[in-house]
Assembly symmetry: C2
Homo-oligomer: 413 residues x 2
């Protein structure tokens, strides 16, 4: 398996500020990995609101079930995340493990188990022994520090080749509030399944129902618009925490999603979600190129997204991009197989600004030379105009390389 | 691109008998390939009935449109197939080309253009100049011979590594009737899209509506149950011709799908369709292993098939098979992402006869050693029992290897 850092990794990482009301600690619990951190505790001050979205898998992991149950309460005091074992498809033992972790974390943080959130990523089908790390939680709560966001991002990595962090500071009313986020992505755990985890926190005083509405809306054009290989994890988890600590500095309490003062915050949050989602794509297994697929002129936005995902998930399109081949015929194929309304003879296709096909046939004016040069870039944009409506959507993926097959075809160790 | 014959190719090929009422000729038209045949004409005696099924792509090729139009007539006198150019996404020029080919073939065969069928496979988006081969059709009709079925299978190959043929002789009433079939599969045309073409003919006297009913039913568990990479071609075409010549030898004319005398014929036809479909899978790009995926205990047969295709199309499952890794966690993932009714805690998974997971967790009795040995076979069976109903389905695919990426990621020449 490759351990080289993705060529699409950020050129520089932001310095992550503290979020008032959040303390972070990590540890080497030795769950599977040696010589690196694999346990994260994020401790929140009393009054922290929480929102979450999860995998749509019909076979979710035990921690996903645990978080879904607790989300109704809307309150969080501690988040516990381990890497190395996903606690997925572990039956009753899985539930026992999340129950034990929940109790240990509640004791450590001085809260109820209903205010605990947890996530696990790594090998699936192996029972996760909570006893391997639950005794460490009290120490982590005691040692937590506000400025360890990058360390947090490192502790939750599996085969990610770089830690994923993003931050923004914006006005809420007249007061500065900060949003920090971390993510782990489509790396495989030697070589079990990819899992997307992301945790975002802010000091803004935003009520849980508003937070949930922001997150549910924000996830559609960001985390739900990226795909590495069309395979949905059992464990995908995105949680958003709001400590409300900025209220002391004068930030207004937001209790209504229609509150006009939310504008800047909402845009910044969506930007962070998109930033993290794209970092996940750019660290996709074996990825050498980022691919942006935009579909315009579809019957509806929903139809556009389906067609865009059909293009982005097509192995033939993805291998063509890997081969730097502007193979628009495969884009036609992927539009055709999406099953959405389309008229072959109205279809146009671009790679970057190069229109290769128009009105259902090859564009007579297209330059093979310019297009070939374009395909050598490490960010490739594909656009398909369906020509029958106003529906529009953009999704992101990466190319499909031999390295992907190597990473995922190795024997499980 | 690899030119080695697939390791899953048949150990021996059947000798293909003649079908009374069918004459075959091939030619080197030089449409794209050099030094090989790329044009096939199959000429049928008057009175030949025809049935067909086609790609579900919303962007079908011009020949698919042409065949669909003619199918309503139910009569066929000539089939013309070229390889090297798919005449797909060629706009008006595509229709002009099929019209010209239709006229030339009708003149050559002494029939109406409505009795002509045609198919094209190869590069897409390039106009197909009918003039490159239409002048050859009269000669092909004149030179046609009954015993050139294997030559026919060779002429329609693109990057297939072996010709695909199958034959059976069965009783219709008290008379022997023969069914011959050829197919070309999921090879890429250097490196444009894969296309599945198959042509089956019989001397049995079966009326077109009965033929269509047999074919539409037969295709579901055969050609519509195989997948190489989830990418649907613009050009998939399966045609079934019945010359009726066996009537002279006493075979009964069949005009009703419920005719009890059809039993043997129906079984033989379905077997040929399955045989050809599996040959396509076994010649899938880069394929090293055939994978049979069976889902049992689903809510319905339809639901079972969706789950089975979710497993068979999962890049993570397919790379695991390539790596000879019995990674049942990825099967759980693929069941979960199918979006069909499933209960994680009732799920069981087998590789061959090795049960790896049961009641939602790892089977404590499973033997790593026996399973590892099993995964080294070149035919691997995966079974998932969903545990909630009686729905059942089987589909076939191949593994996903680095060779697939190499074949499809090379520059288009």
């Amino acid at each position: 398996m490759s351990t080289a850092i993705s060529p699409l990794a950020p050129k520089k990482y932001p310095k992550m500020p503290a979020i008032e009301g959040v303390r972070i600690a990590t540890a080497e619990a030795g769950i599977k990995y040696k010589g690196r951190t694999d346990l994260l505790a994020m401790v929140f001050d009393a009054g922290t609101a929480v929102a979450g979205v999860f995998t749509r898998s019909k076979c979710p992991s035990a921690p996903v079930d645990f978080c879904r149950d607790n989300l109704a309460g809307g309150k969080a005091r501690i988040l516990v995340v381990n890497s190395g074992n996903a606690n997925a498809f572990t039956g009753k033992k899985g539930r026992e493990s999340t129950t034990l972790t929940g109790k240990a974390a509640a004791t450590a943080a001085g809260c109820t188990p209903g205010e605990v959130f947890q996530a696990s990523t790594g090998v699936i089908g192996e029972p996760l022994d909570s006893g391997r790390f639950s005794h460490l939680l009290a120490g982590l709560v005691k040692d937590g520090k506000p400025d360890l966001w990058t360390e947090a991002a490192k502790a939750i990595m599996t085969t990610d080749t770089y830690p994923k962090v993003a931050t923004a500071t914006v006005k809420l009313g007249d007061t500065d509030v900060t949003i920090n986020g971390i993510a782990k992505g489509a790396g495989m755990i030697a070589p079990d399944m990819a899992t997307m985890l992301s945790f975002v926190a802010t000091d803004a005083p935003i009520a849980a129902p508003v937070l949930q509405a922001l997150l549910s809306k924000g996830v559609a054009p960001t985390f739900n618009a990226v795909t590495v290989d069309s395979d949905t994890s059992t464990s995908d988890t995105l949680l958003l925490f709001a400590t409300g600590a900025a209220a002391k500095r004068g930030a207004p309490a937001i209790t209504d999603i229609r509150d006009a003062r939310l504008g800047q915050f909402k845009r910044a949050l969506n930007k962070i979600l998109k930033n993290l989602a794209l970092q996940v794509v750019r660290d996709g297994e074996g990825a050498r190129k980022q691919v942006e697929v935009t579909v315009t002129g579809a019957k509806s936005a929903r139809s556009a997204k389906r067609i865009a995902l059909s293009i982005a998930n097509s192995p033939l399109v993805k291998t063509a991009v890997a081969g730097e081949d502007a193979n628009w015929g495969r884009v036609v194929m992927a539009v055709g197989k999406a099953g959405e309304p389309a008229d072959r003879d109205l279809l146009s296709i671009w790679f970057g600004d190069n229109r290769l096909a128009h009105n259902g046939e090859r564009d007579p004016d297209y330059s093979e030379e310019a297009t070939s040069a374009y395909m050598k870039r490490d960010e490739v944009r594909i656009r398909a105009d369906i020509g029958i409506g106003r529906g529009k959507a953009t999704v992101w993926t990466c190319d499909l390389t031999k390295e992907y097959v190597a990473i995922n075809g190795d024997y499980r160790s």
